[in-house]
Symmetry: C2
Subunit: 339 residues, 2 copies
């Protein structure tokens, strides 16, 4: 297997990107890791590690996409960017998957409009967040690729994430739900109600509406939302999580006994922090394009990149793209869609 | 001042409702508290407390709204419910405010369609959640009264919550923002962008888009959202908060040293828990109807009811309703709205 890693992706590129790639190369010695980006900077970074025997290649590019770049432009203006060149390696069959911690909007636009392009039948590719919960990880789709959705797009998000849950998360007959303001069928906005009616007609294991608390109980495999709502949901969760950890730190600092208490509780606190750490998971798979793409957080550390590469490997091993293609064909039949 | 309390509102009615009313009557000895509901049950409950000298009255009703009641029906089918009779006391000028921990949808429908009715110019009344943050409390509107909103409704939510922030939360020139998936003007779904364009035309101190993390930093006074999105936001936050507290309890139980640690950290943990306790605030004001209505959580305890009564008092003292009426007149002028 050959996995392409954008060396110029993360906020602190190329450090975490290269270090994560080295860690993955050690962990998966049979695989090739291709680092795309500025050759000199990558080489200087690689020198820090013992890379003897590791299958790491470099593909040199002269440009890189920044967080300031307008997503709609970079596919035209930065043809020699690590993102576009890296993705084209997958498009051209020279590699199996692409991992980046770069500008999400740009990755989405490049994948959809300039490089891999959409799988036939897919109306809108979607980002899937793998959310740690009290139970099993939940796939929340869409994380924000599409801020104004139509009901049939939501159905497609459900189909694609269902395939991801089967092939990558190893769930049998995944449960699929719509994120809503109440469990009852009567709850939801107009979009959720319409999507619910459509989802009930598919062969998905659709279990209806769920509220965020049901999602966080970890009993659902796939939760579908409009990208705007999915984004607000995940960001609201992150906001409260960081706020509570910060408040705890502040409160503890004020009291010497509490500092001792925190030391004694350290393993407990650490295990929770670990559970909530997004870099344990790696990144968000972009579903609906002709190739495996995992988009990590801009703040990704080496562990985040390594785990994103692990995710990409699982997606390739699970034949994710072929399975989504099949799912799309089935969607057309089930919803009597005329292409 | 006379405050009406729905004695049959909370999930455990009439216990917390009556106890909270007694606590408020003690706290505000100059005010009259009117308990509406089944006279016998209220009297039996009142017997548990020393009510000598407290100004508590009972208005007997034979029906009560349940969580199973369909919001659209109760105004017609339960004319002698504590909710409708209680609200009519405010409508008829016999009391100044109404507090209930009952069925939110029913309270909304009764207020809007059967009792207090809308303030002239108000398109949709909205529920406002007072969200505890790392800084000051934020007013998040709409909490779920309206699941499919138009842009001018959002503008009105902003105007009404702005008045609430001035008159009840005592904020000077409150900052008003739209909840969005990014801070930039280009972010947001179509509704948010359209509402942003309208809000920029008003005299509100509109500061643009905020993400959940900015909201939780407590630097904004009013955050406006579509009721569906506002509901998902608040429920996502609650879901993570309770999950983290539960995980912490579980982890601590597994380790005797961590139990000791938790005991030492107790004041720190308690102060955070206290900060996040919704019953410290009381309830959600329903803005846009001709009277002060505070809707508490169904799970309200006595403290929640007492604090909701405190909130209602502040709204009456701040002349909330007259100020919203004025705000609505200004809205018509500023947006060149033809009534």
């Amino acid at each position: 297997m050959r996995i392409v890693v954008d060396a110029m992706g993360s906020d602190n590129f190329p450090m975490p990107d290269v270090e994560g790639a080295v860690q993955a190369a050690r962990l998966y010695p049979a695989d090739d890791i291709v680092l795309v980006g500025d050759q000199t900077r990558i080489q200087n970074e690689l020198k820090k590690y013992d890379t003897q025997g590791l299958k790491i290649e470099i593909v040199h590019t002269t440009q890189n996409v920044t967080m300031e770049d307008h997503p709609g432009d970079v596919g035209r203006t930065k043809k020699d960017s690590s993102m576009l060149v890296g993705m084209n390696l997958v498009r051209d069959g020279k590699a199996d998957a692409f991992v980046t911690a770069g500008n999400t909007g740009a990755a989405l636009a490049i994948a959809t409009l300039h490089s891999l392009r959409r799988i036939p039948g897919v109306k809108r590719p979607a980002l899937t967040s793998l959310v740690p919960t009290a139970g099993e990880t939940v796939a929340l789709v869409d994380l924000g690729a599409n801020t104004d959705c139509k009901a049939d797009w939501l159905v497609q998000f459900g189909i694609m994430a269902n395939v991801y849950a089967q092939r990558v998360m190893e769930r049998h007959n995944p449960s699929v739900a719509l994120l809503s303001n109440g469990e009852e069928e009567s709850k939801g906005n107009a979009l959720v109600k319409e999507a619910g009616d459509l989802l009930r007609q598919t062969s998905l294991n659709f279990v209806g509406n769920v509220e965020p608390k049901d999602m966080m109980a970890g009993k659902i495999d796939v939760v579908v939302a409009d990208g705007f709502v999915g984004n607000i949901c995940i960001k609201s969760m992150e906001a409260v999580g960081s706020m509570l950890f910060r408040l705890l730190q502040e409160q503890v600092k004020r009291n010497p006994l509490a500092i001792l208490g925190a030391l004694l509780m350290r393993p407990a606190l650490r295990s929770i922090y670990h559970k909530a750490d997004p870099f344990e998971i790696g990144g968000a798979p972009l579903l609906g394009v002709n190739g495996v793409v995992i988009i990590g957080h801009g703040r990704s550390n080496a562990k985040g990149i390594k785990n994103a590469i692990g995710q990409a490997r699982k997606a390739v091993q699970g034949n994710l793209i072929a399975a989504i293609r099949e799912g799309m064909t089935q969607f057309v039949t089930e919803t009597h869609e005329v292409e």
